[in-house]
């Protein structure tokens, strides 16, 4: 037991404590100055907003697409086992490397995406995806969704498969259509699964660093930054370590709230059964 404790205490607990202290400390006194300066930073509201859209928008999209995909996979069509295996690929590859490949896909001059869009007559084929804020943000979201889809789909699929067939049969005998079964049976039954999965993904998406860093580095300027990349930049690019700790504390509070919600959900589910 002891070695794990030592590791954890040293590497995780101690730095958390230091982050906490440093964010409030100044010349031997307690101060809220850091927080004030950080919040008053011009880019701060923008970054907060971007983080929110990134986290909640991303999770929502992953959830919706995952739900559709899981429902389809549940139908046991021919080849669905291969499909389920292939689904694992984005999850199994190091995201930092797959993000690099996506970067090439999004390349404005030679990237294959622009060419396809051009041939399909959707765009003029010259979009400089990663050079601007709004398109860059979209590109980042696409990659994040791409990588998050497998796990979400599998969780939902497991949930779907755990529902017994007879409930559906009883419903069809009573004349329910597929859509009605879905709305009145499946979704309510899976509500706990959905809540836990979404909480988990909110946390994971919020924490996501490699995707944004590899594709746009949070740029241009701060237009694709989230809190996470902003903290990193503040500390290691601008060298403002102390301010970064204040930001980190804010982030920590957010994560703590969601983590506790998640933990409570998981433990409660366990106790109920």
């Amino acid at each position: 037991m002891a070695p794990s404790l030592v590791l954890l205490l040293l590497i995780i607990a101690y730095p958390i404590w230091m982050t906490f202290i440093t964010s409030f400390a100044a010349d031997g006194g307690f101060t809220l100055e850091r927080y004030q300066s950080v919040i008053r930073e011009e880019a701060f509201p923008e970054i907060l907003l971007q983080s929110a859209i990134w986290t909640f928008g991303g999770t929502a999209l992953i959830f919706l697409i995952g739900l559709v995909l899981a429902l389809c996979l549940n139908e046991n069509f021919w080849g669905f086992r291969t499909a389920r295996l292939l689904l694992l690929l984005p999850w199994a590859t190091p995201i930092a490397i797959s993000a690099l490949v996506w970067r090439w896909i999004f390349n404005d001059q030679y990237g294959i995406l622009n060419y396809i869009l051009y041939r399909l007559k959707i765009t003029d084929g010259k979009t400089a995806w990663l050079a601007f804020g709004n398109t860059g943000f979209l590109a980042n979201m696409v990659v994040e969704i791409w990588s998050g889809l497998p796990l979400m789909t599998l969780i939902i699929l497991s949930g779907l498969q755990s529902i017994q067939e007879d409930i559906y049969e009883a419903a069809t005998v009573d004349g329910a259509t597929w859509l009605q079964s879905l709305w009145h049976i499946t979704l309510p039954l899976l509500r706990p699964v959905f809540i836990v999965a979404n909480l988990m993904f909110v946390i994971w998406t919020f924490n996501s660093f490699p995707v944004i860093w590899v594709l746009t580095r949070g740029g241009p300027i701060h237009s694709t930054d989230t809190l996470v990349t902003y903290i990193y930049k503040t500390a290691f690019q601008y060298g403002m370590f102390e301010e970064a700790t204040a930001l980190a504390m804010i982030t920590f509070v957010f994560l703590l709230v969601f983590s506790l919600l998640y933990a409570r959900r998981v433990f409660n589910e366990g106790e109920e059964r």
Binding site: L8, I11, P15, E75, L86, S98, P210, V228
Partner: protein, 280 residues
């Protein structure tokens, strides 16, 4: 009535299959690009309109990439750091999980909850003081620093996985061993561990994969080019000059293969572990 049901079922399968198709194009697209690009010659990479497949696939790229970019260094670094973290994390996790599974001590519930919560951590929160700590210990730009850091982050999930594994092993064998005069440690090594082998294997592979794939700490804690892990090394080759995307793609394939294969080996257990939190 039966016939009607079956056709409705079939029709649903068809629709499902059709909806799934574009999603799978999306999912598999980068892999196609990765392979197609790796096989192109540099001229083919930089042509417009882009080629969907090389006219003359350059299989030599897979050999040349080892010479042109320090791929060997990257892979070696990743191997050393991932293996080191795996050993460290597993060694720490096994006794901890055993204690949590078998013994009751004050604060046990607290530990379980803390572990669950700390799984949700991103290194970003503590990266500043952690970096300073690493520098303080003289471990910056060293393999050891990253090994310790990664192990610490992975130990919680490992303990989590192992605890549930240990708990599912019946106690009678251990009781019998105690009666025969075996020590706690002996029991752990000779009885419980062999029985929990699948769990240990899963943990070992999990830590290895997670560390291999890790990016942020690898980016921050190691600066000399020879020691970079592959996730960072490949990334930093981009944007230098005119990037040789074909070689980069080949390098990417090499970087992706180890964890891809390992992942496929443990995917069942991993999913079970993660899903169990959500579905019961």
């Amino acid at each position: 009535m039966k016939l009607l049901k079956r056709t409705r079922r079939n029709r649903r399968k068809w629709i499902a299959g059709l909806i799934v198709l574009p999603i799978y194009v999306f999912i598999l697209f980068p892999f196609y690009v990765m392979i197609a690009t790796a096989l192109k010659s540099i001229k083919e990479v930089y042509t417009y309109p882009p080629l969907f497949w090389s006219v003359q696939p350059q299989w030599e790229n897979f050999v040349q990439v080892w010479r042109e970019i320090p791929l060997g260094n990257f892979m070696m670094s990743s191997l050393i750091i991932a293996s080191g973290a795996t050993v460290l994390a597993t060694l720490c996790a096994i006794p901890a999980a055993y204690a949590l599974a078998r013994m009751s001590f004050p604060g046990r519930a607290f530990w379980l909850q803390t572990m669950l919560v700390s799984q949700m951590f991103s290194p970003v929160i503590i990266i500043v003081p952690l970096f300073k700590l690493i520098v303080l210990l003289g471990l910056n730009d060293s393999y050891t620093g990253l090994i310790i850091a990664n192990a610490a982050f992975d130990v919680t999930f490992s303990v989590w996985l192992l605890t549930s594994y240990f708990q599912s092993i019946p106690k009678d064998m251990e009781e019998a061993a105690f009666v025969d005069g075996c020590t706690r440690l002996g029991v752990m090594f000779r009885i419980v561990l062999p029985l929990a082998r699948p769990g240990v294997v899963t943990v070992v592979i999990f830590v290895f994969i997670t560390t291999w794939n890790e990016f942020m700490m690898a980016l921050t804690f190691i600066t000399s080019p020879e020691k970079k892990m592959i996730t960072v090394g490949l990334f930093q080759l981009v944007g230098k000059f005119e990037v040789q995307w074909n070689l980069l793609a080949a390098g990417a394939i090499f970087g992706v293969l180890p964890t891809l294969i390992l992942f496929m080996l443990i995917q069942k257990q991993l999913i079970k572990g993660l899903v169990a939190g959500a579905v019961k």
